[in-house]
Symmetry: C2
Subunit: 137 residues, 2 copies
DNA sequence: ACGTATTCTGGAATCATTCAAGTAACCGTC
DNA sequence: GACGGTTACTTGAATGATTCCAGAATACGT
């Protein structure tokens, strides 16, 4: 299935910026808005900052993109959606990588006491040092 | 142990703003910097914005405060540190509450594959609706 | 009490992101 | 294959949380 089909299937118009954003995140996961913009502009030099933000929001709302916001870092986006995978974030350089759920099926989705909250989702973030920053430190 | 002792024990100077910040977070956990400032100013009206940020950083660096940053919300601070407890965040109003770890001892601290990262900590955030927002919706 | 390192004040600057108004483009219909 | 309406994009400015800077004030060891 092409990205064009993917967009249509989700009721979204097919535009250059949208295809370019999907393309950028296909080859590089966990990019920030600024990096997405930079990559998009290598093929579509006139794309505006807001276009990228609009596209990222539209695609995230449609479920085509997942947005993650590691504390202290700008938001990142990835195409891997639907599964409950988590992330490791490097304390040194901010690099992000995927981590599959640790213990069987979604263990963290069941908190002990919810204080009356209706819990819909759980999000796990691991913090540490990436291989590069480990050797530096 | 008084907050004064607590500060000295951690090698920090004892100042009005620091005591006031600790005091504010003693009675109300998960306050944002703006709410801390507002509460501090009820007793010390001349405290500056930056003083509060400096104090929050100093206390967090010393391990007296824990900083949490729910995606899409300004940072919150709490005095409960050292244990690995987690948080529920309301998608409606941003309210935060504590949640003890779900499954025995820190299950989420052991990811399946770390991609070479040296993992130091795991952070779990549950998303849902607080009691108030549930009835409204 | 003195002196100095640290902290606090006040104001401006930064970053990521969003808002607003006008122009351009996608795409169902003719 | 052109038309028109809706949706997306462009340009430019604004926002909110946080940080930077320089100078005045304060804590606390001597």
């Amino acid at each position: 299935m092409t990205d064009t089909d993917l967009l249509r299937r989700h009721g979204l118009r097919v535009t250059g910026p949208r295809l370019a954003v999907l393309e950028a995140l296909e080859s590089h996961a966990h990019l920030g808005a600024d990096e997405v913009l930079r990559r998009v502009r290598t093929t579509l030099p006139s794309v505006s900052v807001q276009a990228v933000y609009d596209v990222l929001h539209a695609l995230a709302d449609a479920g085509l993109l997942r947005r993650i916001e590691p504390a202290g870092h700008p938001a990142r986006y990835e195409r891997r959606t639907g599964d409950n995978h988590h992330h490791v974030v490097c304390r040194g350089c901010g690099a992000v990588d995927d981590v599959d759920c640790a213990v069987g099926h979604a263990p963290c989705l069941v908190p002990s006491s919810t204080s009356g909250f209706a819990v819909e989702a759980a999000e796990v973030t691991f913090w540490g040092l990436c291989p590069a920053c480990r050797t530096t430190a």
